[in-house]
């Protein structure tokens, strides 16, 4: 097991190194750095900056890139977390329902919806939501994180938590406003991952439900809810984890698009604005940051998949 972890860590380290080489090369190309055969010293300088989290300063605003990321990341994290929760709840419950009602209308309908939803680009969903919801129900806003009229002290930098922590007289009002702002972006982000999760859960849970231990548990007359969660999903986890990288990709695109369309003050929006302004330090900084986060996440997921997989008889011997 330790060998496996070490293996993954080594691979991760190698990939991060590769990433730094790629970004270094891009930097050399962008700024026409004359290497003069001094490749290693230049690279060393670059790496030293990276390790000190010095990602350069923005061409446009003149602020350090790391500050920009630090400013915007909490908003993205809040949005990501809430949509993650929504899509997990919806995806897993729909997937479980579909797996349990296989060959019945419920299952067919759920599967068809999830296949159709996976064919819709996320920006179409965002546009559709603006048209269908925001323009009709004016209470649900189509941009920003919180009405600019409210003042929230910056404690954790995640708005929702900050609001819960303040003791302002307009707390409930602010909370309501914040949740209303969250509706459309979170819905946009959750749709595709929820659909994908429905499919993943359905397929892996269906395989698990065929196993004898599940049939035995079902025959004991216990609550289906209990059996599905504590036996079914528990055993479906490894397969779900293996397929989660697809979801990471979906989430990334969805978050960037949703932040762009709904003007959410997050890192994705910053990235798109930087790309449109060709603000190279910001692009490179966020790329490096996001790519290393994604790589780390990937290795964590593969570790999780490995640890949740039950020991088989062959391995035990």
């Amino acid at each position: 097991m330790i060998k496996f972890i070490l293996n993954r860590l080594m691979t991760l380290a190698g990939l991060l190194f590769l990433l730094s080489v790629i970004t270094f090369w891009v930097n050399v190309r962008i700024y026409d750095i004359d290497l003069h055969g001094q490749l290693l010293p230049e690279y060393g300088k670059y790496m030293r900056n990276l390790l000190c989290l010095n990602l350069g300063t923005s061409d446009i605003s003149g602020r350090p890139v790391m500050d920009l990321i630090r400013d915007t990341l909490p908003s993205t994290a809040g949005l990501l977390f809430s949509s993650l929760m929504i899509s997990l709840i919806i995806g897993i419950s729909c997937g479980s329902t579909a797996a349990l009602t296989i060959d019945r209308t419920t299952s067919t309908v759920l599967t068809d919806i999830s296949i159709f939803a996976a064919s819709v680009p996320v920006f179409l969903i965002a546009v559709f939501l603006i048209i269908a919801v925001s323009l009709n129900i004016t209470a649900i806003p189509s941009s920003d994180e919180l009405s600019y009229f409210y003042e929230v002290p910056r404690i954790t930098a995640i708005r929702l938590i900050d609001i819960l922590l303040t003791d302002s007289g307009r707390k409930s009002e602010m909370l309501y406003n914040c949740l209303l702002h969250l509706v459309l972006p979170a819905a946009t982000i959750s749709v595709l991952p929820a659909a994908e999760l429905t499919r993943i859960t359905r397929n892996s849970l269906r395989n698990v439900m065929r196993q004898h231990y599940m049939q035995a548990a079902m025959s004991r007359g216990w609550s289906v809810f209990y059996i599905v969660i504590f036996h079914g999903l528990r055993n479906a986890l490894p397969e779900i984890f293996i397929r989660l990288p697809v979801l990471i990709n979906l989430y990334f695109t969805a978050v960037v698009t949703a932040e762009f369309v709904f003007n959410w003050p997050g890192t994705g929006n910053l990235l798109i604005a930087a790309a449109q302004d060709r603000d190279r330090p910001v692009i490179m900084g966020i790329f490096l940051f996001t790519a290393s986060v994604l790589l780390t996440l990937n290795s964590v997921l593969s570790l999780l998949a490995r640890f949740t997989r039950p020991v088989t008889a062959e391995q035990a011997r």
Partner: protein
């Protein structure tokens, strides 16, 4: 009053006689009895057993004239109550011993789950830690001495025989009224087989646990079972007390089986016997029209191939053949 009273269970894939995979199977098991259900794989044993515990496969239609457990008409219960009722009364162990256990859970947790989810309202042993004591006792009872290690392990780390014993221990912990075991002896060495057999015997004797054991081999179970039913292509061809069936088999299939068992000293398995018989084992969708054993029966006549035989039942010994008293001379 019999514990299990099942009459004319039919499981079919579509309409008509020939689509009945299980054709009018009746089973009555008395309290404390061990009933052996004997048939080759593919004869429909698993299907009958899962049908009894209420697991239905997709694409099949189930029907039964009567289904009572302990005098309660199960078919009249609502689906949710039926599940709970059957669950309390019956414990099923499937063929693969390891796959009966959740691979992601330690044995201790599985015991704990069974001990917690089964409602023991009236039990005396509800002192703190009774669950651990109980599971340890049960493991010792089924002959596992290194129970500490076993309780810590997950099924993947245990051997087949251990898993079988754990299954039986779990069944004992659950305290069902009927234990259904599907091929509890398959793919085991002779010594392990006898271990399990004696364990089942002692459980039956001491805990008075009624059992329905499905197997494809008559010989080892003959000493254990009080009564046997022989299944062929979804039909029960002969039922009776073990002694009666063994001494005077009525159905040609049974006779063939018993004769080969006697000749080979119990070593003969089904495949060899049927290679002697010739023909192939019928299965859906090529079930015969008349008597299902007809095409392979050594004493078949024309009528056997055309019409299904009726059931003959003199004094508790039931068989299904066109000929009322086949001679022993064959």
């Amino acid at each position: 009053m019999p514990l299990l009273d099942l009459k004319n269970l039919s499981i079919s894939r579509g309409e008509g006689e020939r689509n009945r995979i299980i054709d009018n199977v009746s089973l009555t098991i008395d309290q404390g009895d061990i009933r052996a259900l004997i048939g080759v794989s593919g004869a429909g044993m698993s299907l009958i057993m899962t049908a009894i515990v209420g697991i239905r496969r997709r694409g099949l239609t189930y029907s039964a004239e009567r289904y009572r457990i302990d005098g309660t008409d199960v078919q009249k219960l609502s689906p949710a109550r039926r599940r709970r009722f059957i669950g309390r009364k019956i414990f099923i162990i499937f063929q693969d011993p390891r796959m009966n256990l959740d691979p992601a859970m330690t044995i201790r947790r599985q015991f704990r789950e069974i001990l917690s989810l089964r409602n023991f309202h009236d039990r005396w042993y509800r002192y703190p830690g009774w669950k651990s004591r109980r599971m340890e006792n049960l493991l010792i009872r089924v002959g596992i001495s290194n129970y500490r290690k076993v309780l810590r392990s997950k099924p993947g780390e245990l051997t087949d025989i251990e898993c079988r014993k754990i299954n039986i221990a779990l069944a004992l912990a659950y305290e069902p009224e009927l234990l259904i075991a599907d091929e509890p002896l398959s793919a085991m060495s002779v010594s392990s087989e006898s271990q399990i057999l004696s364990l089942l015997d002692s459980v039956n004797k001491n805990e008075h646990l009624t059992m329905l054991i499905g197997t494809n081999d008559l010989a080892p179970i003959a000493k254990l079972a009080g009564s046997v039913s022989l299944l062929y292509a979804g039909q029960i061809v002969e039922t009776g007390k073990t002694q009666a069936v063994l001494s005077s088999p009525k159905h040609p299939y049974t006779r063939r089986l018993i004769r080969s068992m006697n000749e080979m000293g119990g070593e003969l398995d089904h495949d060899e016997m049927f290679s002697e018989l010739g023909g192939i084992f019928p299965s859906w969708p090529e079930l015969p029209i008349g008597c299902r054993f007809g095409p392979r029966c050594p004493m078949a006549e024309r009528v056997c191939l055309r019409t299904p035989p009726a059931v003959k039942l003199p004094q508790g010994h039931v068989w299904k053949c066109h000929f009322s008293a086949p001679s022993d001379s064959e």
